[in-house]
Symmetry: C2
Subunit: 386 residues, 2 copies
């Protein structure tokens, strides 16, 4: 149950990609007949992705190499393009590294960046946003939902505030897209990062929605593909796969989410009731359908992870992108947890192929794993060692 | 015979990619067992790419989303990282848009850029390079070979000069890689752009070689993948395909090139002898094995292209990246051609699947196509209209 670090490609997506890996090898930019078919196919894929987020025109969707590139392109592109108007930027303390690090980079280039606090559920502090916005603020970047704790942000409310001060709103929808319905116009989003892999599409492809009328500086200059916004020969099979994934998400998202929410709430309730000193991370209701983020006092998430792995259950102790370091998650710390509390976290992210039987199995094994690990931990109080 | 705009993926490459599109969907950065296999596989692919260019260690190879990104990363990354030492950069007038446009962008950011002239064969003018290099020069970027005219540059000679002045040498090997043997140490290359698709690998993946000890600023910041040089979840199937393509190129390049050089020289000789007022573009001997670039007086390359297309022969009138504009190729103009001469150019780029029979067919049809088009052209002298 680890989907935060990579979802399997839907077999129907693979099928949609393979013909473009075999026969239609034209460059989408050239004029002879080998080149024509990919160009039309890219247009159709663009429409499918646009439809998923209710974009006004398919031309507002620019394909990229993935969500990390989209975030870099949106943040650096909007900041640099509007630097003459002001050099103040706002984001939050719980963003993904592919958002935080472009902002940290811009700080070294003379920009001022405010990192907003969040409450104990990981919800952005609207009052702080209100106080931070100035006439020099050109861009605010907030994720639609957080991958580590599942919390969904009040994007519409944030957007109204941001626009009232004349700034642009970038939303990283990486983990939310294909899971929850997004409507760029209703939500008031100017720039939206989309990830293919998070909706069972291939890796190596993503997109950036740029609202009509919004201007940003390109990140990658070259042959002028994607209306000059993102140069480079188009990754045709990847784009085909992304288009198919968006089409499937559009059709299947609603039913799949109802199913996942039932599984999610059962897992959370059963874990919290069967394990003493266990707690939920993130918001109890405003959370991603696939996200079960819990923590257990006195033990390490990493140890639970390895125990589960040996029993055939893949999970995560947080974001895959920080698994290499032993630092406690910056997201969990921002919600007010102490480092030792954060370290006891376990993240289960479910997907299409996860069943009720698997959830039942996890609920069966977790209490004994936690008990065994607590018996070995010097932090465990005596009464729990029995 | 249009391989400049996109080569077909070798079926053996597709086979190497498909398992990673189906089963091994782990994120290469996470720690559980689903994640382990891709990480090892990426390491193997990196070794194969490193071996192709005789890189000192596999860790000098950073995977990107393609050659355009690699060029942007090398040029902006080296320029920005060394801006404290100097803000003068050098490239040539015949580079690909994914090189020229990053330099033009840097000009808007306070850098001074020299665009070196080339001779009538498209060879970089070494004297001009010598005169342009100053103590403020931090980077020189020259393509290994030109995709429109096939000319291969004297990289070793250029490198010695560049290094004698303490600057770095970036080489865009996009069309050359997998076609001609490259040895980064022997050639004296600091930064090398590699393209997967040009060696029958998938699009959407490329690499940048960064010599040990050379420091550049990342283009895409995030989760710290690729040793922090290029963040973003790895495109595992794409990387697997690139690795396989590099492995095959290493084995098959030598024989395939001997075959192509025979085809190339036959095509050039037969076209030039059978069509009056036809000329070779680029260098007669120091040229890519797959490249047949010719021009015909009095007619338009575009018209020849469409005639060939209707007879089942794919070709190009120049670079696919400028096919959308009607501007004459900047490369051909830089070799001293007048716009009307440049417009009559035809580019045939051959590949693995092109046979001697196809070459014979092309030689048969071209004279009559040219004759028919010349009969319709007001520029054609009377004696050729018969």
């Amino acid at each position: 149950m680890d989907h935060v670090a990579g979802k399997p490609i839907d077999p129907r997506v693979t099928e949609a990609m393979i013909p473009y890996m075999k026969s239609f090898y034209g460059n989408a930019g050239s004029i002879h007949s080998y080149g024509r078919r990919p160009r039309e196919a890219i247009g159709e894929a663009r429409s499918k992705v646009a439809r998923l987020v209710k974009a006004e025109r398919k031309e507002t969707i620019t394909f990229t190499s993935g969500a990390t590139e989209s975030n870099n392109m949106a943040i650096k592109g909007a900041a640099n393009r509007n630097a003459h108007r002001g050099k103040h930027l706002i984001t939050t303390r719980i963003e993904h590294m592919s958002v935080l690090n472009p902002f940290k980079y811009l700080k070294t280039k003379g920009f001022e960046v405010t990192f907003l606090p969040v409450d104990k559920y990981g919800t952005v502090d609207i009052m702080s946003l209100h106080e931070s916005l100035t006439e020099k603020t050109t861009l605010v970047s907030v994720a639609y939902a957080n991958d580590e704790i599942g919390t969904i942000q009040p994007i519409k409310e944030i957007s109204k505030l941001v626009h009232s001060k004349g700034a642009l709103l970038h939303v990283n929808a990486t983990v939310a897209n294909g899971q929850v319905p997004i409507d760029v116009k209703e939500d008031g989003i100017d720039l939206l990062t989309l990830s293919s892999n998070d909706m069972y599409g291939p890796k190596g492809v993503g997109a950036l929605y740029v609202r009509d009328g919004v201007r940003i500086e390109p990140l990658i200059h070259g042959g002028g593909q994607e209306k000059g916004l993102r140069s480079g020969s188009e990754n045709v099979p990847g784009i085909m796969g992304f288009g198919k994934a968006a089409e499937l998400a559009n059709i299947e998202m609603k039913n799949e989410n109802s199913r996942l929410i039932i599984l999610r709430d059962k897992l959370i309730k059963d874990i919290l009731t069967s394990v003493p000193y266990s707690f939920l991370n993130g918001h109890p209701t405003k959370r991603l359908p696939d996200n079960v983020a819990v923590r257990f006092s006195f033990i390490e998430g990493e140890a639970i992870l390895l125990s589960l792995d040996s029993m055939g259950i893949a999970a995560s102790s947080g974001s895959a992108c920080t698994a290499k370091t032993l630092q406690p998650s910056h997201v969990l710390l921002a919600t007010g947890l102490k480092p030792e509390e954060a370290h006891g976290s376990l993240l289960l992210t479910m997907g299409k192929q996860n069943t009720e039987e698997e959830a039942t199995y996890i609920i069966e094994v977790i209490p004994s794993i936690v008990k065994r690990l607590r018996a070995m931990s010097p932090l465990t109080p005596k009464e729990l060692r029995e």
